[in-house]
């Protein structure tokens, strides 16, 4: 599945109410490490059907960043049943993301 772009309008539906676990990638266009991570997230999204991958731009959605206390990007937050269950800050390799969602 492709990565879904999420903003404050569809956050509730795509993340909170999601049946599947959700990996939210908080990022920004000017953030180099986020741009490095982007293609890895795309790859994982195509390989994994059991987890939903969403991308949240923190410049366009400062409310969501603030609500989840995101103060460093890239920041990956794993949601299960609408609740945050795991978090990772900074650039990490693909296998570490796999163990985050695994």
């Amino acid at each position: 599945m492709a990565v879904i772009t999420v903003n404050k309008d569809n956050f509730e539906n795509e993340v909170i109410k999601s049946e599947k676990k959700v990996l939210a990638d908080f990022n920004a266009a000017w953030c180099g490490p986020c741009r490095m991570l982007g293609p890895i997230i795309d790859e994982l999204a195509n390989e994994n059907d059991s987890v939903k991958f969403v991308s949240i731009n923190i410049d366009e959605n400062p409310e969501l960043a603030a609500q989840y206390g995101v103060a460093s990007i890239p920041c990956l937050v794993l949601f299960d049943g609408g609740n945050e269950v795991k978090r990772s800050v900074g650039l990490i390799p693909k296998d570490e993301i796999e163990s985050l969602i695994g």
Partner: protein, 313 residues
């Protein structure tokens, strides 16, 4: 068995890969994170010859694609050990170990660069991304109008403080000495900033959090810490702490085999040769004066050429 195995896909490692492939050697690059190294954190590079303005991301991507186009193989695995399998100079042979696998190579180039030095105080790890940051240009935007502190006294700390003074409401600059090593110009610029306050002769001793977020840093007199009895304790409420206390070379995995200096840099001159014949070093993790992209690229070229000559001898 690869001709040349390169550890690290930063500017030095990828440049070495380009030179090695152009000499038709088989090349494997092993990278722990993603390609590009430290430079992906930079918004704009303005001092690389013939590239007056380029983002760190674009620089890294162009360099990576160039190495890949020339046929370099890149795998994303962290190297944990290098073993010298044969001490026979005519049949040099190394085992390179990763968490997933083990590779064999006739020569190795270590291009592992450096990583941010941490403060090493309790709670630091847990507060990364929740108040603690090692990159002002990456995370400054989260502190618009807020109170932040920068700790460190080098160029990076001064530049970070200057950058943050335009974003944050208030910036404290905490430094353990009473003067700065960094460029005077930057220091002078900072002194003119009304929202920057210098806290000199001080070290951060404690981080306080509330609800998983950093709320204050406590500083103490630097000399008193050295003497073992902290005095001049002061708690400063902050929303963010930017740590800029330097970098450490990423050579820990090779400590037993490769000779380093006291700070952990692999000992080698401009010829990039280490104490082990057949193992070369390139980039920021080598003992040298200037640690920049252009010198990392230069090392990559020299180390690869040395490895090629070693193989062809």
């Amino acid at each position: 068995m690869y001709d040349i195995l390169i550890v690290g896909a930063g500017p030095a490692g990828l440049t070495a890969a380009i030179y090695a492939r152009r000499a038709s050697k088989s090349v494997l690059v092993l990278e722990a994170l993603t390609y590009g190294g430290q430079i992906v954190n930079t918004l704009e590079i303005e001092n690389y010859p013939a590239e007056p303005h380029i983002s760190g991301f674009d620089f890294a991507t162009k360099l990576y694609n160039q190495a890949k186009e020339l046929g370099a193989e890149v795998r994303f695995e962290r190297v944990t050990e290098i073993r010298k399998e044969s001490s026979d100079a005519d049949a040099s042979h190394f085992g390179v170990i990763t968490a997933k696998s083990e590779y064999e190579a006739k020569t190795v180039i270590i291009a592992t660069g450096s990583a941010n030095r941490k403060l090493g105080i309790s709670g630091e790890e847990a507060l990364i991304g929740r108040g603690i940051s090692y990159c002002a240009t990456c995370d400054g935007a989260f502190y618009r109008g807020k109170t932040v502190a920068v700790v460190g006294g080098g160029n990076t700390a001064l530049e970070d403080a200057l950058y943050l003074s335009d974003v944050a409401g208030k910036v404290y600059l905490i430094h353990r000495r009473d003067e700065f090593r960094g460029e005077e110009i930057a220091a002078a610029g900072l002194k003119e900033k009304a929202n920057v306050e210098f806290i000199l002769n001080s070290v951060v001793t404690e981080l306080k959090e509330d609800g998983g977020k950093l709320v204050s840093v406590t500083v103490a007199d630097a000399k008193s810490i050295a003497a073992g009895e902290p005095t001049g304790l002061r708690e400063i409420p902050v929303d963010g702490l930017f740590v800029a206390v330097g970098r450490i070379p990423s050579n820990q995995s090779f400590a037993g085999l490769i000779e380093t200096d006291e700070a952990g840099y692999i000992k080698a001159g401009e010829n990039c040769k280490t104490n082990v014949s057949g193992i070369f070093v390139a980039g920021d993790n080598r003992t040298k004066e200037v640690r920049q992209l252009v010198t990392a690229a230069s090392d990559g070229a020299i180390a690869a050429t040395a490895a090629i000559n070693f193989l062809n001898r």
